[in-house]
């Protein structure tokens, strides 16, 4: 499997730079305030695409410094400089810092914060309509709420990248992700079964879950069904965030559908004109290159194109 050959990457990089303008970081929406998640994620995309370029390095270093400047004393990173809660962007900042190999103090603090916080766990009462195991601790979007798939997947990724793949919290987070898989394949946003019915899988959370599990679990039926789900679903998906994460999830397991480059090219025009296109654009860019896997600390898996 090689990097995808696509002709829009130069324009996409410029579009990301345009959205940031001269701000300290990337906003969710062009002209808005810089926010932690898009700042970290877009910086990672720039590094994945062109790790040697001065522009990538300058912007990423500035992002890392800005993220460190808004880090709270307890190690958490909130939404933005003024919006200090909730703390779910913390793993995104940690991923960037560890990828750059800088800000070691900030990394340590963020790591400690993640390890000392978890989503609420509880014993299900008899007759509960929830199908998943509510006693497994992962990470929540907001403190004092239940663990959900996406913040858990990102925390697992970031802590693995920080060298803590064998930490009990990471192992438990992995267990949570596996437990939340939908029986017929893929992941929903958090629940697997409710009121006796399996929920519908979605591409982005499925891609995130596959990223978080790559290299730390064996290729089981759960993984196989999720990969099959993405390969059947992505041909019809042209929304950048879902397509990007779906392809990343496949790539982490050595799978690259033959139509990937075409799908991304078809998704590009709509994302390019969106003022709030930074996150999907960054995700699509990352899905084109195998360097994303090494940047996220994931193993390269042999595989190839098929469709």
């Amino acid at each position: 499997m090689n990097d995808l050959r696509v002709d829009w990457l130069g324009q996409a990089t410029q579009r990301l730079i345009d959205i940031r303008q001269s701000a300290a970081g990337w906003p969710y929406r062009q002209g808005g305030v810089p926010a932690a998640e898009p700042t970290a994620w877009c910086s990672l995309a720039m590094l994945a695409l062109d790790p040697e370029s001065k522009t990538s390095l300058d912007l990423s270093m500035a992002s890392a410094m800005w993220l460190a400047s808004i880090q709270r004393a307890d190690g958490a990173v909130g939404i933005s400089a003024t919006q200090r809660t909730p703390e779910w962007p913390t793993p995104y900042a940690l991923l960037l810092w560890t990828s750059l190999g800088r800000n070691t103090g900030a990394c340590t603090q963020a790591t400690n914060w993640l390890l000392s916080h978890q989503g609420i766990v509880f014993e299900k009462p008899p007759g509960s309509p929830l199908g998943h195991d509510t006693t497994i601790a992962g990470w929540s979007w907001v403190e004092q709420t239940h663990s959900w798939l996406e913040p858990t997947a990102m925390a697992v990724l970031a802590l693995r990248r920080a060298g803590l793949a064998d930490h009990p919290r990471v192992r438990e987070g992995i267990s949570l992700i596996v437990d939340r898989a939908i029986p017929d394949g893929g992941w929903n946003f958090g629940n697997s079964i409710a009121f006796g019915r399996a929920l519908r899988p979605k591409p982005a959370p499925t891609g995130m879950a596959l990223l978080a599990l790559a290299g730390v679990v064996e290729k089981s039926d759960t993984i196989g069904r999720a990969l099959d789900y993405l390969e059947s679903e992505l041909p019809t998906v042209r929304s950048g965030l879902s397509l990007g994460f779906g392809l990343l999830g496949l790539m982490a397991w050595g799978r690259r559908p033959a139509g990937s480059a075409i799908w991304l090219k078809e998704a590009w025009p709509a994302v390019a004109i969106r003022a709030d296109g930074a996150l999907p654009l960054a995700t699509m860019m990352m899905a084109t290159t195998l360097r994303t896997l090494s940047l996220l600390g994931l193993p390269m898996v042999s595989g190839g194109e098929h469709g």
């Binding site: 969710y28 305030v33 919006q83 909730p86 979007w141 907001v142 709420t145 996406e150 006796g196 709030d276």
Partner: protein, 340 residues
């Protein structure tokens, strides 16, 4: 917009007072006149208009304009105004279009407002489960409608936010984070889907406002609100946002395991009103649910508006002629919504 506008038709004046309700920038919003607002809503009887709409091929804009007339909403109140339409776009689901407010319905409402001179139509939503809002738009068919229309779209989940005092206080939340886009709008219009809901009985024009709270602050799902109590949160949000109008898509509704896993229910109904508890109570009666058994409506009736049948003036079709039994999910917890 003036606080009070009198309709030459002689119907009860429709009150709008948004501009003095949310003021301020940089995270410091101030709500004024809240007490008066609640007193108005609580004390006055409310008009609710029920219309028949056989399917999504009918002229929805005409139905909505008829509703405006029945509710005493005039061109003068709409002309030149910025209209924010808040549909219920919960999840991407091409295989289950009855999850979401139908895009044709949203387009029809927008057309009605534009025909009355509205300056702009903003469709705004922060889906409750899915981070990829644009996947929801694609799979609901909304993207195609937006491309061919004069409507713009804002993803409320990722908007910059204002911090606004919670002026109801049914939850322990002292403040709510609200998207700044709400401040752009002169009218905030709830466009929900008529659906059963496995936690609160029914999701209608009030529950729809969970979708204005940004996911970046509340998560996906907005689990903070579940922790605080869904019923209490609904009342706090509606009492703080103070929407002006609700137009319910009950053409193809949802019964059973709503809000996302239920089955389509052919209802052929549109429900409109400026008082959201009254609109939702009417919808409940159309679904053969007693609104008094829905905790958030019971709470709302004490602070936001009437739900009692004798305090709601039904216009258009009658409840008796349109009501159908909506099946609830098969779970013992549902008994509280429809006691035997």
């Amino acid at each position: 917009m003036a606080d009070s506008n009198h309709d030459p038709s002689g119907k009860r004046p429709f009150r709008l007072s948004r501009r003095n309700l949310i003021v301020g920038t940089g995270g410091a919003a101030v709500i004024g006149g809240a007490t008066a607002f609640f007193a108005d809503r609580f004390l006055q009887p409310a008009d609710v208009f029920i219309a028949k709409a056989s399917d999504y091929h009918v002229d929805i804009a005409s139905i909505v304009r008829h509703g405006f007339a029945e509710l005493g909403i005039t061109r003068r109140q709409i002309a030149g105004k910025s209209i924010l339409l808040k549909p219920n776009l919960v999840e991407p689901a091409t295989e289950a279009p009855h999850i979401n407010t139908h895009p044709v319905f949203i387009h029809g409402v927008a057309t009605a407002f534009l025909s009355m001179g509205a300056r702009e139509i903003i469709v705004a939503e922060g889906p409750g489960h899915c981070r990829d809002t644009y996947l929801v738009l694609d799979e609901s068919g909304m993207s195609a409608v937006l491309r061919d229309s004069k409507m713009s779209f804002v993803d409320l989940n990722h908007d910059d936010v204002d911090v606004v005092a919670n002026h109801v206080g049914k939850t322990s939340l002292k403040e709510l984070f609200l998207p700044q886009t709400l401040r752009r709008a002169d009218w905030i219009v709830s466009l929900p889907k008529m659906k059963t809901h496995h936690w609160v009985g029914a999701t209608l024009s009030m529950k729809n406002f969970f979708g204005v709270l940004p996911g970046i602050c509340y998560g996906w799902p907005k689990n903070v609100l579940h922790r605080e109590g869904i019923d209490q949160s609904i009342v706090d949000i509606v009492g703080t946002v103070k929407p002006h109008l609700a137009i319910v898509d009950g053409i193809v509704a949802m019964e059973g395991d709503g809000p996302v896993m239920g089955d389509p229910k052919i209802m052929q109904t549109v429900v409109m009103g400026t008082n959201l508890p009254a609109v939702d109570a009417t919808c409940c009666r159309l679904m053969k649910l007693d609104p008094g058994y829905l905790a958030y409506l019971s709470m709302a009736s004490r602070v936001l508006g009437p739900i009692a049948e004798n305090r709601i003036v039904q216009r258009g079709e009658t409840i008796a002629s349109m009501a159908q039994l909506f099946r609830l999910v098969d779970d013992p917890m549902m008994a509280k919504f429809r006691p035997v």
